[in-house]
């Protein structure tokens, strides 16, 4: 069979009824669909047509969809998974905001410039500064926008690692679900078509090269490639790619970073794979920083994925406790450094054979008072309780005297307001004086892809050769690359997703409409 002929949309239409197996086999042949997708506009017949198609339903996708709807566009959101929200709805729900009302209430002075400076420092100067400024500048207004859609925040500001000051808000649910679920409800209420089990297989372009739609596998049962049936959906104004990263695509991530083998767990959902990114690259999108893959330094090897420890360490151990080497009882890094510095530090703890020696992070009841996952972590024995430091030492085989000496040194540092050992910011540091103690074993997990496609400040995807926008193609959130440079700061993915998603939605909705025809 002639492969090119097989892959053309017209041929696909012919195949759709009878030869279902042949259609199904096309799913695996991804390059074909891009080669064949360029069609004279009047010849393409669509099964459905909307103004804006959003691919992906995380922070970026849902924000893009609602913003485009607000601008008057008809919108469809497709997601290949059986559920909406991707990584966003299973994340910690923390958003960095420069100049929030809560900061003002607590007397914390912040500015867009300070946030940009913090993110540049963590990013080792590799950041796309224009996009970075766009994100930071949009956080305060986007936070209010989310609140207006029903998002509820905890009544205090948190200090996450790598930020020079406390600026992190968190949903009351301690989960991104506290953002995603209200946005999905609003989307359904406002008539946005929400399609799960709908996988992007390729783009459809007109003869000028403008993206005018997508080939979608409807009724897709992840991860079975031969399920569902192919349809063409038209997008008069454009397609917004909010397709996330590829943290769970072990083959592709290892091409970028050979050390990120299957032995490293990931906090990501199973759908965090690379095929949408590859489709954009086939259109000529410029991939940047793909080898910048972040490990989450707050994860535990004693559970799967993000689990209970990540939350516990973020809100309790790191700001209000310390992390020690189990062999010496001593601290060995700044617990409020950025994620890369912390993950790199933890992964130096190995025995003579190179096997991990999991460090122990701990705090006391006072330090853990805001940790909603504490009880769940105790239930599944990821977090362990000890009544005094001797018990804690015995629990993990730490030399007790050394551990107690370290705690005493830490308390002195808190008194002085200065950490001479590792120069940790001490604004929210507290003395560790009384049990009970709560502790976890720690080891990083693959968490976030800083890399992705290059976009401009109108969220248009830029072409690798011309460096000009690919007409009709927009991208937002983790699918884009460069904003965070070498290391994303905590709570900045929600900020990025919401701000760039809205930016893409707004620009796409204002794009000139192409004239498309139903089948």
């Amino acid at each position: 069979m002639n492969e090119k002929k097989l892959a053309s949309p017209e041929r696909r239409q012919l195949l759709k009824g009878g030869a279902a197996m042949a259609v199904a086999s096309l799913g695996a042949a991804m390059p074909l669909s891009a080669n064949a997708a360029c069609m004279p506009q009047e010849k393409v017949k669509f099964d459905e047509i909307v103004d804006v198609i959003v691919v992906g339903s995380g922070f970026a996708g849902m924000s893009a969809a609602l913003q485009a709807k607000e601008a008057g566009a008809s919108v469809m959101v497709i997601d290949k998974m059986p559920v909406f929200g991707g990584n966003s709805t299973i994340n910690g729900g923390a958003m960095a905001v420069a100049g929030s009302p809560l900061q003002k209430k607590e007397g914390i002075e912040d500015s867009v410039d300070t946030m940009v400076a913090d993110m540049l420092e963590a990013g080792r100067g590799m950041n796309d500064v224009e996009m970075l400024k766009l994100v930071c500048n949009g956080t305060a207004e986007s936070c209010e926008w989310l609140t207006n859609y029903g998002v509820q925040w905890k009544p205090f500001v948190q200090h996450f690692g790598g930020h020079s000051i406390p600026r992190v808000l968190q949903t009351v649910q301690s989960s991104g679900a506290g953002i995603i679920r209200p946005l999905i409800s609003a989307a359904k209420k406002h008539g946005i078509a929400m399609r799960n089990q709908a996988k992007l297989e390729g783009f459809i372009k007109d003869d000028t090269g403008r993206v005018i739609g997508v080939e979608v596998r409807e009724g897709y049962y992840f991860p079975k490639e031969r399920t569902g049936k192919m349809v063409n959906i038209g997008a008069r104004k454009g397609v917004i790619m909010a397709t996330g990263g590829f943290g769970r695509d072990i083959e592709y991530r290892q091409m970028q970073q050979p050390k990120l083998t299957s032995e490293l767990d990931s906090t990501n959902h199973a759908g965090a794979t690379s095929e949408a990114l590859k489709q954009m690259m086939l259109l000529g999108a410029n991939p940047i920083h793909l080898d910048q893959i972040q490990l989450g330094p707050w994860a535990s090897p004693d559970e799967k994925g993000f689990g209970t420890a990540s939350q516990f360490n973020t809100i309790a151990t790191y700001p209000s406790g310390i992390v020690v080497d189990v062999r010496t009882g001593e601290r060995f890094f700044n617990e409020l450094a950025d994620r890369k510095a912390r993950a790199d530090a933890i992964m130096t703890r190995r025995d003579a054979d190179g096997q991990p020696v999991y460090p122990i992070g701990f705090t006391n009841a006072e330090g853990a008072k805001n940790a909603q996952t504490l009880d769940w972590g105790l239930k599944y024995k990821v977090i362990q309780k000890a009544n005094n430091l001797d018990e804690l030492a015995e629990l993990y085989g730490i030399p007790a005297a050394a551990l107690k000496a370290q705690v005493a040194r830490w308390n002195d540092a808190v008194t002085q307001g200065k950490d001479n050992e590792f120069n940790r910011p001490m604004q929210k540091a507290m003395k560790l004086e009384q049990g009970p103690w709560y502790a976890v074993r720690m080891w990083p997990k693959v968490h976030y892809c800083m890399g992705g496609v290059k976009v401009n400040t109108a969220s248009e995807v830029l072409h690798l050769v011309s460096n000009k926008p690919i007409p009709g193609l927009y991208a937002a959130g983790e699918a884009t690359g460069g904003i965070h440079g070498a290391s994303r700061l905590g709570a900045c993915a929600v900020a990025e997703g919401v701000v760039t998603g809205r930016n893409a939605g707004s620009h796409c909705a204002n794009n000139q409409a192409a004239s498309l025809h139903l089948a």
Binding site: P82, V83, T89, A177, I184, T227, K304, G305, G307, D375
Partner: protein, 126 residues
């Protein structure tokens, strides 16, 4: 000619027992068995070809809407961490997850949430 017809008949006969040889849960077997004593695949699969995963709407015909099902497994309002979350109304996904991602008819069922969590649902029919 006769030989061809015989071959065709044998092939057809072979294909029917193949469908009915699929493992099926006891509690479903009774309601899915038609007057001819054979399991009616179309109860779940409709007119779709074999191996097509049924739409959740097929489950809803007998079991009610996702909201109905969620109500059956509701937690008491004062439930603490001793009681597992409602598997049919997730903090992350609401009632969106189609039935078939956990409940598998022809092989062992699994808990979608347990890709990350360690929830125990001993009453789930595997």
């Amino acid at each position: 000619m006769l030989r061809i017809l015989t071959t065709m008949c044998i092939l057809m006969l072979l294909s029917i027992p193949a469908a009915n040889a699929m493992k099926i849960k006891d509690y479903h077997k009774e309601v899915m068995t038609g007057d001819n004593g054979k399991v009616e695949c179309s109860f779940c699969h409709g007119d779709a070809k074999r191996k097509t995963i049924p739409q959740a709407s097929a489950c809803e015909t007998c079991h009610g809407t996702p909201d109905d099902v969620a109500e059956l497994t509701q937690r008491p309002s004062d439930a603490d961490h001793d009681i597992e979350p409602n598997p049919h109304d997730s903090l992350h996904y609401g009632t969106d997850l189609p039935c078939t991602y956990c409940h598998q008819e022809h092989k062992e069922s699994q808990v979608y949430c347990n890709q990350c969590h360690e929830f125990q649902y001993p009453d789930m029919k595997r």
